[in-house]
């Protein structure tokens, strides 16, 4: 039984739907730019990510047809989102709380990099000067003990 005409399980969506979703995406783009100009502290990131997630959901549901397709494709998509969330959230637990366990000393990957000789890096406490040859002597610019508290509101995982 080969049904040649109905082979592709066609869900031909109306033109207006595509244009409507496109318009909604453009509108949300403008909204996210406008909201970003209003200082809301840590909420700026929350609002920006919420709007981005709504836009992503619109693209995935209608342009990528997940809303109409077999559930299996949505499950694959959801597994991706979930895996990434777990990956990023657990990483953040580690990197943000590490300072509570032991003293963190960030080391430059290459302490002799030309970057550290640039004027912009002088006198910031972050610089390793040319005469320092051992990475171990590097003073950490990242003191998670102090940044931990400041960044708590902004350190949300980026989601997708």
């Amino acid at each position: 039984m080969s049904n040649h005409t109905g082979t592709h399980a066609p869900h031909i969506l109306p033109m207006q739907l595509y244009l409507g979703v496109g318009a909604a995406l453009l509108f949300l783009t403008v909204v996210t730019v406008v909201v970003a100009q209003i200082p809301l502290g840590g909420w700026n990131l929350v609002v920006a990510l919420t709007i981005a997630s709504i836009k992503a959901l619109l693209v995935a549901s209608f342009f990528m047809h997940l809303y109409y397709d077999h559930k299996l494709y949505f499950i694959i998509f959801a597994i991706g989102v979930l895996t990434l969330s777990v990956f990023i959230v657990l990483t953040m637990f580690d990197t943000l709380e590490r300072g509570a366990v032991y003293d963190i000393k960030a080391r430059p990957i290459n302490p002799k990099a030309a970057m550290y000789d640039k004027p912009s890096f002088q006198g910031q406490g972050a610089a390793v000067h040319g005469d320092t040859t051992k990475a171990g002597g590097f003073a950490a610019p990242i003191d998670s003990g102090t940044t931990k508290h400041d960044s708590a509101g902004q350190a949300k995982p980026s989601g997708h």
């Binding site: 080969s2 082979t7 399980a9 031909i12 595509y18 809301l40 693209v59 912009s120 997708h160």
Partner: protein, 216 residues
């Protein structure tokens, strides 16, 4: 229209029982590929989260060096290209090949506009020395480690840009195949898969734009 040979459409591979099974298999493979793409970018999103959490002030100061207008125009361009891509597939579903060709050309043009704008953004940053890691020579930013922001900026937008270039190659190929009458309402799987890929590229930019350009 069916290109039948012994009762089977020409596009149907012998190891599938029917066209529907073949199309579902393709789509499953494509979604698994898109899953790996999400995880590929996910590593960079994780790096972004870690460094932004460690350096919130630096990220805020450094992001002001990006041009929000250009970023917003590029977002609009990419969303519009996603709409034209979806409409190209819709046109093939309705057997309107010539209209599909026009939508594919439009998609290709929008992708090119995106890259041209990106080129101007990049060349401006190259000129100022706002470059990744040890190549960073810009002196206009105070505070520690602004080069980290630009490392992440260039890696994320760069990987995305490579995907846009790859997408243009695919769309160009699909454009050529559509003009050569390879697709019909019965068979347009390659076009549909290209569409899925292109929408994912759009989807990733939807997150990159606020995270890089709109740090509150």
């Amino acid at each position: 229209m069916h290109n039948t040979a012994g009762g089977h459409p020409a596009h149907l591979q012998h190891h599938f029982s029917d066209s529907e099974q073949q199309a579902s298999a393709s789509k499953l493979g494509m979604w698994l590929f898109l899953l790996t793409e999400m995880l590929l970018f996910g590593g960079l999103f994780a790096a972004y989260s870690i460094y932004r959490a460690w350096n919130p002030e630096m990220f805020y100061e450094a992001h002001k060096q990006l041009n929000v207008q250009l970023g917003m125009i590029n977002t609009i361009v990419l969303i519009t290209s996603s709409v034209t891509m979806a409409l190209a597939i819709r046109s093939i579903q309705l057997n309107k090949r010539k209209i599909a060709v026009r939508f594919l050309i439009a998609t290709l043009l929008f992708a090119a506009v995106f890259l041209v704008i990106k080129y101007f953004e990049y060349s401006h940053k190259f000129h100022l020395g706002q470059l990744p890691g040890k190549y960073y020579t810009f002196t206009g930013l105070q505070g520690a480690n602004p080069h980290i922001f630009f490392s992440i900026y260039f890696m994320m937008t760069g990987l995305h840009g490579i995907h846009v270039i790859g997408g243009m190659g695919l769309i160009g190929w699909m454009l050529s195949r559509t003009t050569r009458n390879h697709f019909s309402p019965e068979y347009y799987t390659p076009l549909e898969m290209t569409g899925l890929y292109w929408h994912l590229v759009d989807l990733i930019w939807i997150f990159l734009f606020p995270l890089l350009y709109l740090i509150g």
